[in-house]
Homo-oligomer: 466 residues x 4
């Protein structure tokens, strides 16, 4: 089944490794990217130093088919980066796959980027008029042009000048010479972690990748931080002053893996708190709490625990459904959902159900799910979302449909309940959501509120630069 | 990651369809087999009537890559069968893929078989001496030889004669002429369901496949029943008298999907009862109940509910890990497990854990899991299995390792706990397990007890015929 | 471009190897089959002894993609056989791929077969009524059934009994136990050679494969000969008395590679003689002799030499055109030919051309070629074929279209010339063809004359058994 | 078999199409590129206008597997270009595949390039210091940077300024807006033809591609010509004054297909003249003339005709050998050649042979061929080359090994004869070669003479810019 945009989509996940003594860098990048696969399933790639050269290998496809060859080859190296990428807009598919590697007057540079710049239009117009050529539509190419164009003659001077020009969301991993470079935008939209084990420094978007690699101690790369790891050790500085952050709350709601920490916050515990917050708002009587697997699992657990209602796995997910195939046009929408999610009749029969999911984008899947549960004998289905209504596009690294396609812009909860056939629909209010994290003012809620933390007037509705 | 036999493996799942008015049979078989994918992931195939011919298409690989082409092609037909198959023994891989199709003096016949005959040796020796040739090592070929060799001149006479000669486990779906033939052995080892919708009759190993196809009403094909569906309707008879059954209890413990019914029994409810039964035996104090996902999920839920302890998703499963790749020899065993299962630190830290899985085969995964949980801060880990100790091989359609490899033949629970580093290990006793189903005497417990319901002296230790 | 049956097609080529001391049998089979690729491009396979087992690997596709993996793996073994196969009739494609391997009361046997039995119907009817089952439509399965069914208890007794029952064309290579078995039908329709080098015995359909393997001395396996090679050496006997042969003259006209010998006859020299025989019949004045590459090359050379006219490569063949793709329906027939064959304008401009090809089947390609040459400025095009008119189907291992599709059954040479736009068309008469070989009475000319050397009444028009 | 650099290699072939009324541009590009496959077999690609966008599709591999999908899809369009590419240097494989497409201040541009610039180093250093970034190592990217950097604000002004800066060999096809742009360097190193049919303008490196497309009338794009085709028609101008040309003589000796014209010269006729020129120099007595197929075919024909000796196809080529596989390390060099070329014993036995090939690069294949012929019974083998000794690398679009690897820099003809085991070796002298073309002063002979027509001091030994 081709993705139908029923969930929000990430743009990517990144990883980086620096080893004082050579190790099989591609093998370790494989483990890291495999653990970040949920952040991007359309393409992936790695770049690493091979002798005195920097090489890149990338392709459309998932980590296992594209990169597992590296498990069988010993590519001793000191440094490398990797990237997993989500769906692309439009036709130029392969061109946008990362890492992107260029040679320029600052040397050879490989870059992996998670995020979206918000001033791409302005930057690109300047570059265009100065004669730059673009082979992709990715922001990453803009960054590399800026570094190369900088009057500073050294790479780090040029990089810092460039970082000062960039606005919006960016967590970057780069290789330059024999060094690994890590940085995060001053508002810290996207996560990035760094840790070390046995003399090797690892970086990854989420801690689950570092856990897989056996790294015991790690920390968040700070917003506005620039860190360079090379033979001389780890050098950390700030390219922007410390200030309020605007970390993506949706990483905690849906994107990050439950066993990860992002923004120094446990995803698992936060989702349980969201479920508990939903329980605190609850007014209807029900028999069981059922998650939409797997996105609603942890919030449902939190809700059940807080409400005292039994947690019940009333929907079975067919995990083989991730493997893609195209449904025939004759097949009903309902069938497509049934290929992936199935009601467990004996669990839901005659029950009043609190059904928990993380969010609603277009509402199509929810409609079918409610019907399946009711057909299976559920007496009532009350849909609860562990997030507020999504009404605004994200311009900082998440693939949101247009405002028109966001169902919460067209229907209030009551209308939505009628539309999807649920007995009621409720969203977690923004203030309750904010109460689930420790420093709520350090998070971005723009997709709910429309209050963007930076100027987004250069960006069109689709998140692409004008 | 190649399967390392850490779980017991099914031999297969089957499906069949008969449509009075032609429909796209391969498309519908795809949906059915896709829902039975958990019963066999190594190969799959379909056979259906195409005009006046019977055709077969089968290959190594999973349902989506091998058969999804049929979603785009309209192959109108009245009848077809399908098969998913688990790993094969030894080298002749492709030859054993099903359905198997032959032409003989009874016409052209396609057969899909779930189960294992226990008198193959005797049957095959007779066929050998009579001059039969064998192109595979599967029992299915034996069945077709018997039908062809029968002195009865009509197909159904020959089939019934053949069924009378077969011992052991078999659920069969066949196509002959324009008819679909379904049958189950007199002891009913393997499940098989039949139902209809909009004038089309569907059959499948588990009800989840029928649910996916929108079939609302279905029934179990009875043990000893022979049912033929053709233009004249559904004709059911018995080829063996009704008697005590020996249905595979492991279908309920582990194989079948939780949303299925098998043997007229809800898998979900039975697993919850097993969890409750474990809770009833519990003597240690603990803080949380954690399932090994996904095999321990429902039993853990039942255990938590019954014990009043919080249910906690303390292990995160990477569902991309199903996609196969070969780990390098340098990688530690621990890493291989970490690629698939990850402790959720914030959920297990400082906790005394009841860890629930369905069974232990070799014990290698359990050992790593316990270590991961303890490294993540778990204070105690008490492993509980929702099945008794597996000590005997299954000769009725399940891939069991040799007796020596079954860890319960080498270590008692205390030794096992020491071996895997758990604070304690307990199994569900056979009598408690039996109390979780309605008619316990209608089930086979041979893999726990060694009391085989039929003579297995012809079969060697590996489940292959001598 | 999919084959459009514009040339006659072979059914296959075979090879066999026995090595006293183990060698990498699959690697050597690869070299042999690669050199026999022109005899069958649709599928290929090998079977060889691996330890105490016989294994088989085969698939649809050409030798390089299907079997080149064996160049990288050292599979030490004593014995193996291989097969390349031409297009199959109808749907059951994979099932007919060879070698075919079975186990039966005579042991495990692998068989590779080149040819076609003419009494398959009778044999198969007997086997059907005795209860045999058939998984393919190939004659090879019939042979194995007969061996297994034989009352003789030893393999060789059974094999000889079976050979006595078989009528028609067969060159066979088999593996049984640790021995390689080679045999040819009493009329010797298809070629088979045997030779040795460095203690290894090699067999192949054509000598070009033995040349590739560096074998210096070889001989034809005689018609009616049965040869067994094992640790005890080479044992040769006759299963049928010596008598007149009916070797396929088309092997010399078109199928075999020019550098091969078949039937103790040089293909190259014989084709040159055919060209000279055409020259001797010539009555028109012309400027140059042009071959249709590559099938007409050698005969054209012989014709040019004998006639004193210049040999000119007036048509250029695009050898990449062997790689298959499907032409869009909108493309004209002419374009399809132009993708493969191109007139060399500067060579043919203003010339009166003797155009030489080996034969005409349907006439479609010839028509386009004549048009291309005339468009390129040729003044006259006189088509000459180094074979008589093909009017009858072959039942002995060649894929012929139905009688209706053979253009020589619908048009005499004058009509044919008008049809294809040539200034004249002439065929080599049967008696002139016969004069090109040493023992003309030892060859089969049935496709030209309709005088079949054995009873073909059991066979239908398409060469398949009734 | 992987290419071992035994023949010189082209860098590429290009094609372009402009249709006033929309046609299936990709389908037509497929036909053109398929006919240019001999100019580059490692990768291929097309770029065409799709609605208001320019799109590109390219990959490693040959035309049929990479692009045949376009035969089944109707992509109506006005304009497109295509490229086939030969082996790449070093690792960054995919990045160098063409066409290359960029967006810049001159719009979106796609470019396909045949040739090599000789002042890349100078151009690139300037671009580097101005801040350009390079994603590939191809000259094509340099060209696009120059266009974008130009102070001229319109595309054509910028293009002409860029053409004025470029030195060396370049035949270019570009798409910009809705126009097709074609141009050739002032010395005309590489061929490029243009013609039209049914209101569609086609361009291709060789006329054989235009013939395949049914184009009857075409002309050479002139050296120093810039031609733009759009809705307003064909606009041709010169960007450089007419002057002496330096066309690559090796196109006539080896690269171009015999049925092509390049540089207004028939390849077929020229090769025949080269063969005749060899015959005129001949002093030894011989029995037959044998070509090394296919590269020596036409020259051998010319030699045989001029000398009155019989032309004999004494070597058989296995055309399946183009399909690549890697020979095992244990296989001898001799076997690798025998997989591809085979002596025809009955043609060469006891003969004194004039063996004709186009050129010698490393001499390894020749050595094996001579041995094969002698083993097959040849009495004498006299190797004749239809080109002079290659002693200098080409910097204008041909892949030459280093000077050390060129055997003619290490051995004179006598030493070479001894080395390869031939009875004698002779090369066609430069002056005799020159006499085979009409305007010998309009050709480049630098690979024989070392007299480069432009300054090559910026280029290193491998043809890559320093």
């Amino acid at each position: 089944m081709k993705r139908k945009n029923n969930k929000l989509g990430h743009y990517c996940g990144i990883a980086g490794i620096f080893a004082r003594d050579e190790i099989n860098i591609p093998e370790h990048l494989f483990y890291a990217l495999f653990s970040l696969q949920h952040r991007g399933q359309e393409s992936c790639g790695i770049s690493y130093r091979k002798g005195d050269q920097l090489v890149v290998y990338k392709d459309l496809g998932m980590v296992a088919p594209v990169l597992s060859r590296y498990l069988q080859e010993n590519r001793l190296s000191n440094v490398g980066i990797g990237h997993v990428r989500y769906s692309t807009h439009g036709g130029n598919k392969v061109e946008n796959v990362q890492p992107i590697m260029v040679s320029c007057n600052k040397g050879t540079i490989a870059l992996a980027h998670n995020g979206n710049l918000s001033n791409t239009r302005e930057l690109k117009q300047k570059l265009f008029s100065d004669g730059s050529i673009f082979q992709s539509t990715s922001d990453s190419e803009v960054i590399l042009h800026l570094i190369s164009r900088s009057r500073k003659t050294d790479f780090y001077g040029a990089l810092k000048e460039t970082l000062g020009q960039m606005e919006g969301a960016f967590s970057l991993a780069m290789v330059h010479d024999n060094s690994l470079v890590l940085t995060r935008d001053p508002l810290g939209f996207r996560p990035l972690y760094i840790g070390s084990r046995d003399g090797v420094t690892y970086a990854a978007s989420e801690t689950c990748a570092l856990d897989t690699l056996g790294v015991k101690e790690y920390r968040s790369v700070d917003a506005g931080e620039l860190t360079i790891i090379d033979k001389n050790g780890v050098h950390t500085e700030r390219f922007a002053p410390k200030g309020p952050k605007k970390q993506c709350i949706f990483e905690l709601i849906y994107f990050a893996r439950p066993d990860s920490s992002v923004f120094d916050t446990s995803v698992h515990l936060t989702r349980k708190r969201m479920g508990a917050a939903l329980a605190a708002c609850e007014t209807v009587s029900a028999d069981i709490v059922v998650p939409v697997p797997d996105s609603g699992n942890i919030a449902a657990l939190g809700c059940a625990e807080a409400s005292g209602l039994p947690f019940e796995m009333g929907l079975q997910r067919n995990h083989y459904a991730g493997r893609s195939f195209i449904m025939p046009t004759t097949a009903e929408r309902e069938l497509a959902v049934r290929m992936k999610l199935h009601p467990v009749k004996t669990a839901v029969m005659d029950k009043r159900i609190i059904l928990i999911d993380d969010s609603i984008v277009r509402g199509t899947t929810s409609r079918t799910l409610v019907k399946l549960l009711k057909d299976a004998g559920a007496k009532e289905v009350h849909l609860r979302l562990s997030s507020p209504e999504i009404k605004w596009p994200c311009y900082f690294g998440i693939d949101t449909p247009t405002r028109d396609e966001l169902i919460s812009n067209r229907k209030n909860p009551e209308e939505l309940a009628a539309h999807i056939g649920a007995d009621s629909v409720k969203f977690l209010p923004i203030d309750k959501l904010a109460s689930c994290v420790e420093n709520p003012e350090d998070f971005c809620y723009a997709c709910f509120s429309g209050s963007y933390p930076v100027d987004v007037s250069q960006i069109n509705n689709n998140g692409a630069c004008l």
